[in-house]
Each structure stands twice: as structure tokens, then as C-alpha cells.
């Protein structure tokens, strides 16, 4: 299958690209919008905001989510905040600065035009959310409060206590439910998308499974929008919600959508270390804690003193020592590797020696208990529940964990994949964060895509289709896809092996974390490439899925998702192996500076790696999209 591979970046100066583009793309007349059916998969920030906005415009919108309610999507768990170039703090922020910080933070592996547009619409997002009633934090004068956030030297982050993701998602969810009430949105909860159907070069619809009844059915439309999140759970242990998965994106990839930069995975530095082998997921502590917290380890290995008994002279504040200018606020990838370095050197703390201290005692003394409680109270409570220690008395212990995935389905400037009619938003696409995402930028991107980008760009695709009817769901193309899903379900239920789905998922996760995690080498990646197919083979021979298809069967659902991780994981490793440089979240040990920092190779690797699926046991084909930097010239990131 040969597909168009054009990023469609508009001509003209950076500042004018989006305006020019909006003027040049085709429009659908307001009265004609109701003639188009759009299917939105996923109800996180990107999916819910897109569905609400498209329905308000007049499109017929169907929304699919595997959750029992759209409000459960994992965007809800984001704690810290959302960036916007409002410059309310008068500290020199601007659209250009947010653009520049994002490009630099992404280690020069994202598109300038996309990132500039993201910075432009960031200011509209805040206004939109305020109008919806999102209860952002306020100052005493009644104006919006901002704080600085990991990796930024200006205060541009808006927040709602430690629950910013929740409040933004509820805003989008409420807009979506208003669409159900007033604009005819049809909502399909507890419905999992399991395939994309492509016919005659266009996306024709999707095939779904009703999770309560096991019924497999098809939906057709003029366009399909995937907003199905990231693939961090490939690693088994991550900060993602337990049900987050790569299935929707991966099955689209198997139908020809290119998967871009899968090796760009973000490790979040401030998570609670694992406590035992039963650990089911890792919990993130917002990196806003790094604003007031100091990260340290004891100078001495195996220092058994309680942390408050260790005097200043016996502590190593290693982020402040190594990065005097940014200190504890260095970007996530830099902080994570520094923490790994200390723990690998045997200076880790806690019962399993698998963490470092994140200490707010100095800030508590300086600002008072009340201020710290106001800022971080809910995070401290959460830490105490999980770790069983009171962070007001004992410093928290933290360690990095998989948190976000910058890679995703390849999209052009219109957020359309190489499959015409298949749009991809939010974390599920690859577009804006390059090789590393800055803190408080995921919420911004999800809402930018859904509220302010897709509603314009989808019209350009739909306008020429006026008068066409979507493919009938009785078409053989849909029937074939439905049969394939029925077959897979029957196969999974008939293996009756000895290992549970989770046991096999943990094995995959261990291979990925050990060999394709925070630090990667040619050797470790080659080892993983050899091991993953064996795990996949064992899965299909020896997995145990009990019960039936016709009623709720969570093990069956999980089995389908793990089957996809077992294929996708291999692509992630292959991408990491082929990228012979270090950049952002992709750190190859062979490519580092004398100081142990990531060493990019701009001459050979300033491209987006877009992989085309060629069959499970065949090597995928690599397509390269060259990245050009006309404004933000690549330089070595330095946070010293």
C-alpha cells in the first residue's frame, strides 16, 4: 500500500502559517455539516473536546469509549497543570517563548509549525475552560493564579489544586454531555474499538465490541477520530491507568496507518518507588513538588540514619550540584537519568534502595506548614496512603517511571494520518512533543487538538465528500473485520493454557523496562528483539482466558490488549535500535557527552521515523519525514 506522505505544512512565516492555513482550507457550509457522520473514539481531553466542538458545529457525532462513563478517561489523573502563553505574570512569556521552550524541551525532534500553532491556541484554551466553569486556582484579587512548572523559567502553568486534569476533563465531559443533550451526540460507553475499516483508500468506519454483551458490530462514517491515549502500559508498570492500551492505535497501524517515533517514551522522575512484586501500577507525584522540593541522597552508601538525622554536609543535592542554573527544575528526562545514576551507584534510599529523597522541609520552614498544605496537601495525603509515611515528617521517596509516550500515529498538519479520513488527536498522535514532553503540556495539546485544531481541519477533508454516503456496515469489508475479531475472541478463549494474561504482560514489561527503558544500548535492544517474539509465541500457546464472550469478561479484554502490546513492543524496540543517537526520552548509552548528557546526531537523525506495518513477523518499512528548523536552531540542551 503506498500512501501520500506529506506533512502539509503551510507556507509563509511561522507566525502566519495557521492563519493562512485556516483561510486556505476548505469549509463545510453550516447547513451541510449535518450530512457528515464523524466517529470519535476515546473521551479523554482530546476526544471529549473534539466531539463536543464538532457536534456544536453541526456534524453528526458518534462517540465510543470503553469506560462506563466518558468522565473516567485517564486525562483525569493529570495533577500539575496546563501551560498557556498568557504572560499574566508579566515575566516575559510569549507565544514565541512557549514555542521555543517546547521545541527545545522536545530536543529538536518536533515540527516547528505544529508547535507554534500549539503555543498560539494555548491562550484560547484557558479562556474556553474558564467560560465552562473550570475552577482554576485564583489569587485573592480574583484573578487566575499561575506557577512555574518543570523545565520552564516563567510562570505559565494554570492549575486547579493538584487535580487540573480532572477539572479540565470534567469541563470537556460536561461539554460532551451537553452535546448528547442538545446536539444529537450518540454515546457508546463500555464499547471497545477493535478495528478500523479502510476501503478504496478511505477510512470507512470502525468495528467495536460491546463489553457487556460481547456483541461485535460496525459503525461507519465519513471520518474517524482516534483519541485513544498513549502506550505506556506496554511496560506493565507505568503511571497510566490500568486499562490504558495501544489497541486502537495499533490496529489502525495494522491497517496501514504509520506509527511514528514509538521509541520516544517519557520517564517521569517523581513517582513513588515500587514496594513489592505485587505492585500493579506506579503512582506519580506531581512534579510541581520540585518547585519547592529538593532532591537528594545521602553522601554515604547504606546510610541507615533516618533522613532528618542526616546533616546537610552528609547530603548530596545532586540536581542542584550538576545543574546549578535549573537545579531541581531540570526537564523530566534529565532529572530521571540523574536519579537513575544515583540509584545505580548504590546510593538509593528506602527498604529496597530504589528511590531518592524529595524533601520539602526547607520550603516548609521558609513558607510555613499552611502554605505547603495549601499547595501540596492532597499530594501529601496520597503519598501517605500509599507509602505509609507522613511526608510532613519524613521526606518522600521517589523514582522515575514510564509516564507518557511522545510517539504515536503519524499525522500531518491537519492531524490526519496517512489513511485518508483517519484523524488522530492527543497522546495517540506523535505530533507536538518531539522526543520529550515538557510538564503541563499534555493537557494543553489534548485540548488544542480537540477544541481548536480538528474542528477546522476536518472540514478540509470532508468538504469534497459532500453528497456521499458512508459505506454500508453490511459491506463485505466490515463483515471481514467483524469475523476477524470473532475469530480472535474464540481463539483466546480456546487456548486454556497455564499462564494468566498479567503474568505474560509482566514478562513483556520487564523485558521492555530492562532493555528499552531509561537507558538503552544496541546490545540491550537486540536482546529485547530476540526475546519479545518468544513471549508472544508463548502467549498464543499458553495463555489462560476463562469465561465466555457473551458477558463481561475483563480477562478477555485484557488479553486482546496484551496481544497488541506484544506486537507493538517489538516495533518500539526496533525504532530505538535504529535511532543511533540520544535525544529526549530516548537515551542510548553509546551516544552521550562527557558529562553523561544526551548526544543528538542532527545530521543523520533529524527526522520523524514513521513505520509502516508489513505483517507481524516481517520487518516494518521505515519512512522518514525530515524536520527543518528555520526558527529554533538546534543546539545542545544545557540546563547548567
Amino acid at each position: 500500500m503506498t500512501m501520500a506522505f506529506d506533512a502539509k505544512i503551510p507556507e509563509g512565516p511561522l507566525e502566519e502559517k495557521w492563519d493562512n492555513h485556516r483561510f486556505q482550507i476548505k469549509l463545510v457550509n453550516p447547513a451541510n455539516k449535518r450530512r457528515f457522520d464523524v466517529i470519535v473514539v476515546g473521551t479523554g481531553l482530546a476526544g471529549a473536546s473534539a466531539a463536543a466542538s464538532l457536534a456544536e458545529l453541526g456534524y453528526n457525532v458518534k462517540v465510543v469509549t470503553f469506560h462506563d462513563s466518558p468522565r473516567r478517561a485517564h486525562s483525569i489523573a493529570a495533577q500539575g497543570g496546563i501551560n498557556a502563553a498568557k504572560n499574566y505574570k508579566n515575566d516575559g512569556d510569549s507565544i514565541y517563548r512557549l514555542f521555543y521552550d517546547t521545541i527545545k524541551g522536545g530536543d529538536y525532534r518536533s515540527r516547528e509549525a505544529n508547535v507554534y500553532r500549539l503555543a498560539q491556541v494555548s491562550v484560547d484554551i484557558i479562556d474556553q475552560c474558564v467560560a465552562q466553569g473550570v475552577p482554576f486556582a485564583r489569587e485573592y484579587g480574583g484573578l487566575l493564579d499561575n506557577r512555574s512548572f518543570g523545565g520552564a523559567q516563567v510562570s505559565r502553568t494554570f492549575y486547579a489544586r493538584g487535580q487540573t486534569g480532572q477539572q479540565l476533563l470534567l469541563g470537556a465531559y460536561q461539554a460532551l454531555m451537553r452535546g448528547v443533550h442538545s446536539y444529537g451526540i450518540q454515546l457508546y460507553p463500555r464499547t471497545e474499538m477493535l478495528d478500523v475499516v479502510v476501503k478504496d483508500g478511505r477510512t470507512a468506519g470502525i468495528v467495536c465490541r460491546d463489553l457487556n454483551t460481547g456483541e461485535v458490530f460496525s459503525m461507519s462514517g465519513h471520518a474517524v477520530v482516534l483519541a485513544t491515549g498513549g502506550y505506556g502500559n506496554a511496560f506493565y508498570l507505568s503511571t497510566n491507568a490500568k486499562n490504558s492500551n495501544v489497541t486502537a492505535a495499533w490496529r489502525a497501524a495494522k491497517k496501514g496507518a504509520y506509527f511514528a517515533n514509538p521509541c520516544y517514551t517519557q520517564i517521569h522522575p517523581t513517582c513513588i518507588p515500587a514496594s513489592d512484586e505485587f505492585q500493579s501500577k506506579l503512582t506519580l507525584m506531581s512534579e510541581s513538588l520540585r518547585n519547592d522540593g529538593r532532591v537528594w541522597v545521602p553522601n554515604k552508601m547504606d546510610d541507615t540514619r533516618s533522613p532528618d538525622q542526616i546533616p546537610e554536609d552528609d547530603r548530596d543535592y545532586f540536581l542542584e550540584r550538576r545543574y546549578p542554573a535549573f537545579g531541581n527544575l531540570v526537564p523530566r528526562d534529565v532529572a530521571s537519568r540523574a536519579i537513575k545514576h544515583e540509584v545505580d551507584a548504590g546510593r538509593g534510599v528506602g527498604p529496597l534502595k530504589n528511590g531518592v529523597y524529595l524533601d520539602l522541609s526547607e520550603a516548609t520552614n521558609r513558607l510555613g506548614h499552611d502554605v505547603i498544605e495549601e499547595r501540596y496537601g492532597n499530594l501529601f495525603e496520597m503519598y501517605e496512603r500509599i507509602a505509609g509515611e507522613d511526608p510532613y515528617k519524613v521526606p518522600m521517596r521517589i523514582y522515575p517511571a514510564i509516564h507518557y509516550t511522545m510517539g504515536g500515529l503519524w499525522v500531518d498538519y491537519n492531524l490526519m494520518s496517512n489513511l485518508p479520513g483517519l484523524f488522530v488527536l492527543g497522546e495517540a498522535n506523535f505530533s507536538d512533543h518531539g522526543a520529550n514532553r515538557l510538564g503541563a503540556s499534555a493537557l494543553m495539546q489534548g485540548l488544542a487538538d480537540g477544541y481548536f485544531v480538528l474542528p477546522y481541519t476536518i472540514g478540509d477533508y470532508l468538504a469534497p465528500l459532500l453528497g456521499t454516503t458512508p459505506l454500508s456496515v453490511d459491506d463485505p469489508a466490515f463483515a471481514a473485520a467483524e469475523h476477524a475479531i470473532d475469530d480472535q475472541v474464540r481463539r483466546l478463549l480456546s487456548i486454556n493454557g497455564k499462564k494468566t494474561v498479567d503474568e505474560i504482560h509482566r514478562e513483556l514489561g520487564r523485558v521492555l523496562w530492562d532493555n528499552c527503558g531509561m537507558a538503552r544500548t544496541e546490545q540491550s535492544l537486540s536482546k529485547a528483539l530476540a526475546e519479545i517474539p518468544a513471549i508472544r509465541e508463548e502467549f498464543w500457546k499458553n495463555v489462560c482466558v476463562l469465561g465466555e464472550n457473551e458477558s463481561r469478561n475483563q480477562a478477555l479484554e485484557k488479553a486482546g490488549r496484551v496481544a497488541d502490546f506484544l506486537e507493538f513492543g517489538e516495533l518500539m524496540v526496533l525504532d530505538a535500535l535504529r535511532r543511533n543517537e540520544s535525544c529526549g526520552g530516548h537515551f542510548r548509552e553509546e551516544y552521550q557527552t562527557e558529562d553523561g548528557e544526551a548526544l543528538r546526531d542532527d545530521e543523520h537523525y533529524a527526522y520523524v521515523a514513521a513505520w509502516e506495518f508489513k505483517g507481524v513477523d516481517n520487518e516494518p518499512e521505515l519512512h522518514k519525514e525530515q524536520l527543518n528548523f528555520e526558527y529554533a536552531h538546534p543546539s545542545t540542551r544545557s540546563y547548567k
Binding site: H67, D68, S69, P70, R71, R72, H74, I76, A77, K86, Y88, D127, Q128, V130, A131, Q132, G133, P135, A137, R138, G141, G142, L144, Q163, Q166, L170, Q174, A175, M177, R178, V180, H181, S182, P189, A241, K242, N243, D276, F278, Q279, S280, T283, P351, E381, M382, R385, I386, A387, G388, E389, Y451, F452, T500, D502, E503, C544, L546, R552, Q554, A555
Partner: protein, 260 residues
């Protein structure tokens, strides 16, 4: 942190589907680490069940950080278990003792039909939001976010209400199966803010009427507040009742004009 291993006896409600009959089954659960969350303990039980060729216990869960609102069941008769202000996923086994006998069963309320084992259908909450739990602003054209100053105490109170995670513990804890705490939190978040004023009275009436379609009546037991993992205050129910009474007086069709 403790390395001592606990042994728990677990009695769990098992029901294959809404139509099937259900009943309690009891499992002996040795080797429980105090550092496990309650759901991780259930994961272990499920792994063992599957190795014995038995179907695992179905339960809703997702973020396991106490924010998505997916999880929750009754533990010894208490919604989300014994720890105050804590969702089931954030409850850890160190809160129990070696040898404890725990009975877990799904939310039981007419408004939440059972799906399987511990899973119930909470779609009624979405219906309440659909009836008016939003501010009717379309995308685009919103004024600058700082145009309307909102006093910090007002923003804070709205946030207190908005913290609701929609888990349904309030309904499960209520002897009447009433959803007043959920509905009032979702409503008052918006009714307290300047942005929510334009639709305040319609919102109040519509949400209350939708709520009454699915759920029982409030008779001030206050069990909801005690069960709420986010400590939402029943003061919001009082505010909702006040707004509902006012909304009746402000019925525009009767008076013939709009009152602010």
C-alpha cells in the same frame, strides 16, 4: 513499611450477570503484604482463582490513584471500606489486621443495576449531568479568562464541590439510595461561579428532576458525607435545596419575566 505477611478471609458477592442469581463465595487469602492496595490484594486472589480454573472476580477500576471514580464496593458494609476520605484503590492492607474476615459486595442501589460480580452500571449519573450539569458555552469566542475576577473563597468553594469523582459511594451508603450528594456537588460547582449564573435556575430544576427519576429521597442520614472519598460536604445539599426552592419562585412562565 512492614514485611509481615497477613492472612485474610474474603467473602465476595459473585453474580455472573444481571439476570443470573448471585451469592457469596468465601476465599482464604494467605500471603497478603500490608503494602498492597486493596485492589492489588484482589489481583492476587484473581490470579490464584484463574490458576485454579475459576473465573476471576469482576470489578471496575482504572487509575488506581483515587481520581477516576471507577472503583468502589462495600467492604464490611462500608462504601470504599473503613478509611475516611479514601477510595478503594487507595485503601491499603496495612489498615487491616492479620486474620480479618472481610465481606465485599457491589454498590446496592436501584439506580445502579448490577452488571457482574462487583460491577454496577452508573449511567444514571451521566443522565443527571446531561440534564444540565454544564455551562452552555460553545467552543470559541470565550472572553479573556481574567475578565471576570472570582473571589478566591468562591473559587475554592466551587473547587470543593467540583472535586467529586462520580464513584457512587454516596448512593451506595445511603439507606434510601439517594444521589443528593453527587447531584448537589456537580450543580453547586457551577451555581457558585459567575459563569454558572445564567442557567442557574433551569440547571437546578432539571438536575433535581433527573436525579429523582433514578434515585431515592434524602432524609438527612449523612452517610453519604461519611462515605465520600473526597469528603464532599452535605452543605452542598443544603445549597441545592435552597436553590431548588428559589427556582420554583423564579419560574419564569408563571411570573412572565426573567429574574436574575
Amino acid at each position: 513499611m512492614s514485611n509481615a505477611s497477613m492472612r485474610i478471609t474474603l467473602t465476595v458477592w459473585r453474580q455472573a450477570s444481571a439476570d443470573a442469581g448471585g451469592g457469596f463465595e468465601t476465599y482464604d487469602v494467605p500471603g497478603v503484604s500490608p503494602d498492597m492496595s486493596f485492589l492489588e490484594m484482589l489481583d492476587v486472589v484473581n490470579e490464584r482463582l484463574m490458576h485454579d480454573g475459576k473465573e476471576p472476580i469482576a470489578f471496575d477500576h482504572d487509575c488506581r490513584e483515587g481520581i477516576c471514580g471507577a472503583c468502589g464496593f462495600m467492604i464490611n458494609g462500608q462504601a470504599h471500606g473503613p478509611e475516611r476520605a479514601t477510595a478503594t484503590c487507595q485503601l491499603h492492607m496495612r489498615k487491616f489486621r492479620d486474620g480479618d474476615h472481610l465481606t465485599i459486595e457491589p454498590w446496592r442501589a436501584a439506580g445502579f443495576p448490577l452488571v457482574k460480580d462487583l460491577i454496577v452500571d452508573r449511567t444514571a449519573f451521566d443522565r443527571i449531568i446531561e440534564s444540565g450539569g454544564y455551562v452552555s458555552v460553545g467552543t470559541g469566542g470565550a472572553p479573556d479568562g481574567n475578565l471576570i475576577p472570582i473571589p478566591k473563597p468562591v473559587a475554592d468553594a466551587a473547587m470543593d464541590a467540583a472535586a467529586c469523582i462520580g464513584c457512587g459511594a454516596c448512593v451506595a451508603a445511603c439507606p434510601n439510595g439517594a444521589a443528593q450528594l453527587f447531584t448537589s456537588a456537580k450543580m453547586q460547582h457551577l451555581n457558585l461561579l459567575p459563569q454558572g449564573q445564567a442557567e442557574r435556575w433551569d440547571r437546578t430544576v432539571n438536575m433535581v428532576e433527573s436525579m429523582e427519576t433514578y434515585f431515592g429521597s434524602c432524609t438527612n442520614h449523612r452517610e453519604c458525607e461519611a462515605a465520600c472519598p473526597k469528603s464532599i460536604s452535605i452543605d452542598f445539599i443544603a445549597l441545592m435545596n435552597k436553590d431548588y426552592a428559589k427556582a420554583q419562585l423564579k419560574q419564569r412562565r408563571l411570573i412572565g419575566q426573567t429574574f436574575p
